[in-house]
Symmetry: C2
Amino acid sequence: MSIPVFYEPNPIASPFLSEEESIHAHRVLRLKAGDPIFILNGKGQKFEAKIDQSTSKKTSFHLVNEIENSVMPAYAIHLWIAPTKQMERMEWMVEKCAEFGIQSIGFFHSRYSERKEIKTHRLEKIVISALKQSKNLFLPTIYPMVSFKELVGQLGNKEDEQKLFAYISNPPSSSLSKSIHLNRAYHILIGPEGDFSSEESEALISTDWTPFSLGKSILRTETAGLAATHAIHLLHEN
Amino acid sequence: MSIPVFYEPNPIASPFLSEEESIHAHRVLRLKAGDPIFILNGKGQKFEAKIDQSTSKKTSFHLVNEIENSVMPAYAIHLWIAPTKQMERMEWMVEKCAEFGIQSIGFFHSRYSERKEIKTHRLEKIVISALKQSKNLFLPTIYPMVSFKELVGQLGNKEDEQKLFAYISNPPSSSLSKSIHLNRAYHILIGPEGDFSSEESEALISTDWTPFSLGKSILRTETAGLAATHAIHLLHEN
């Protein structure tokens, strides 16, 4: 059996698994004192560890050694998306973006939004399981819902950042491959199925957001979020 | 309200909507004689039409004119995948591949497959709704399950085709961007979560399948199918 992987953000300061992880370790995997495990801190480090004590409430371990310590990639993807009515569409998009690797996923509501509020707890569990499964070492951050106004207001114009929004227009905007400069932090904005209002599009352009196209097909919101994330990774492939 | 879109493979020979489409037209959209509709034949043509008679069993229409007639793109993607245990993962992958555009999706079972049989009816409904929603004009073909042996046996080596399989190896295989020649018909093979057996990988290499890598992250089967399809589209983007 392969060595099970757990997530603990501060394994050095607090060598204990969360209750959720403990239940999995104790009840499902039936781990005992001395069993080897891997710990991911979601900040680039992977440790080899051994169980000290396992109960379904609390599992303690000690670190044996650090086996991976990777630095952040030179680029970062921050996805800002207007969530779909069906929450499961957001859930799988979050899972897939976490598999590809993403810095953060945040949600906003705008004029034509189908959903004005969102529960992030389940999404946080999804990114943790995707972290373990994908062998990525950085846990994506999930941000709660904000309004379009708040979002656009809070993101300034930094030298090393690029702000881009998916825009269906005629003639179409340039593709991401033509729009992005490599090795930046990208803020990718994906509007609701009903698209941005013309006021919103104008507000974006006037605050230096670059429109981009995802190609000829009309993609669903969640597919657009996934496609943009994947495209940026491919553009940085060497 | 925007004009509703329907799928009918032979609208000229048989100007009737299927029972399923008729129920949607009659009960949901409550279309009446004279109402305008669009018809997609899934073979590159889009027609403007008008309802003649609408019942929940059968809706007849007459074509007003052909408004789109596009030729197949110069490249084609045929995805062959070992289905996951959870059918919903295949369902959404099929939906997403159909949104991006794909020639066909077929299924196979191999040594470490989690699923040896698959019902394709639901998947056929999914590609039809994706066709309508994505504004693509070509309906993907869904092929039933075959064995790994049958699949590899039935695909020869044609001049204008390329056979590639996702392979996790150390050192990693080349990415798709380095492996494909543009404007071919691509047969993309994605193995089960348990991967191909060493015998299967050897069989593939000995029958001129090219291994490729989808990057550092370990992707789930359905994510790999989606990523390969999307990557090929991006490589043909102009």
